[in-house]
Amino acid sequence: MKEIRLMKGNEAIAEGVIRAGCDGYFGYPITPQSEVLEYLMATATEQRTGMVTLQAESEIASIHMVYGGAAAGKRVMTSSSSPGISLMQEGISFMAGTELPCLLLNVVRGGPGLGTIQPSQSDYFQSVKGGGHGDYKMIVLAPASVQEMYDFAKLGFELAFKHRIQVMVLSDGAIGQMMEKVELDDAVPRWSDEEIVKLHPWATTGKTPDRERNIITSLDLNPVKQEIINQNLQKKFRHIEETEVRFEEFMCDDAEYLFVAYGSSARVCQKAVAIGREKGIKVGLLRPITLFPFPSKELARLAKQVKGMQAIEMSAGQMVEDVRLAVNGAVPVEHYGRLGGIIPAPDEVLHVLEQNFIHS
């Protein structure tokens, strides 16, 4: 029988990375995600699996430690919350430029600036459109439960190494702080040095006579070469768009109206769907699990079926832009969001949908 525990989202992902064979965590505390570092420290990861857990002197130091660890072919990660993730953007862009795999966790709080410590989803643009400079994309996973916080640790590392890309788990204060049941699976062992050499021939594992030096750099001053580097990156992003889209549908089969929401907003909408169905409203929910790549094709398909889509986000309207791009005017798409750390209630979002599409 599988082990079941009651855990906070932040604790679940910390346990998840240990069991996913993570080699190193480098981070700096910030509410509402400090439990990640606390859990790893309390678990004494060095004794348990040999995984390094290190509190760096800042977020900027953390991301560059991740950069170094990733260059050596290790499974490494950092976590922070919104203001701390902003500080890391330069390092993330450098990792995009060098195609280094890593796992990043943003337990989003309200902004801008120091904002609030309460949950928000206002970092969608930063995560999905590229918070750092240059043309790059990360794979962005949006957990909607504590179980997914756990699951996305292993999935995140798998995707990161499969595509040599940065994977961002875009969570929020609600998912990070709440407790739910989590089913734990068996641990994946950390890679040995020999395995890293074999699996990741690009890694800086020490030059051997049989190969050229591996150089990890994002700098190439020759524009012709730099254009090719960029074109190859774009090719990879298109491939990811074709192969890695993930989403969940809830009561969509006969839906006339559709909520589109991710993360904790999707949980609120799931309840709103249940209330709506009791009232006889044929409403469903599409929950993007990957925000990049976005489930655009599925939304375009559903646009032929439903009369309207209601995006719900704890932001002033960020994901809704991608929903509108996906349906391309086929059906009306409305946005509703609460700001500054407020979570909308299920009957509140249902009321908005009714006002926008049914009683209008």
């Binding site: 079941i4 009651l6 509410t31 509402p32 410590i117 309460q118 204060g173 609600a174 702080q177 709440m178 407790m179 739910e180 049941k181 904790s264 949980r267 609120v268 799931q270 309840k271 709103a272 769907v273 249940a274 979570i343 209630a345 299920p346 009957d347 509140e348």
Partner: protein, 184 residues
Amino acid sequence: MTEEIIIAGFGGQGVLSMGKILAYSGMMQDKEVSWFPSYGPEMRGGTANVTVIISDERISSPILNKFDTAIILNQQSMDKFESSVKPGGLLIYDPNGIVHHPTRTDINIYTIDAADEAAKLGLAKIFNMFVLGAFLKIKPLIDDEYVHKGLEKSLPLRRHNLIPENEKAIAKGKELVTERFVLN
């Protein structure tokens, strides 16, 4: 069965830990559970609250604004959450420190003199367990043996010597809970 509960009071009254023990106990009885706290500055004084859901089915939203049960431990929380109880729902409160008592006539209201009784018995630190007992008396969702297991799970090993005391407080809470009738 789905029971949606808000527990609210001052930070330091054991609001979050009461919710945690309830959630663990539910989990031990093989229920679906969720525990969503207010977090941050509330922990250092001010108000704290936690939403606990216990269900036979997968839980949709762990974040709610209407509840089957409100467990209220101070006036601010009474002001905030009395109106959030669903019609026909349950409100349990400790009258200690309450000036404006609840006035709704479409819900069931009970009181538990937890703070006073706990102080008398020298158990002031676990007065929240009196309140938990009161709730479990009115809504016997979880059997005693699973509450015991819930205590084992939520208390660190070095505190397991306190489990009998906690169980005594829960039993006492069950005895003390009293229905309060609101006159029209």
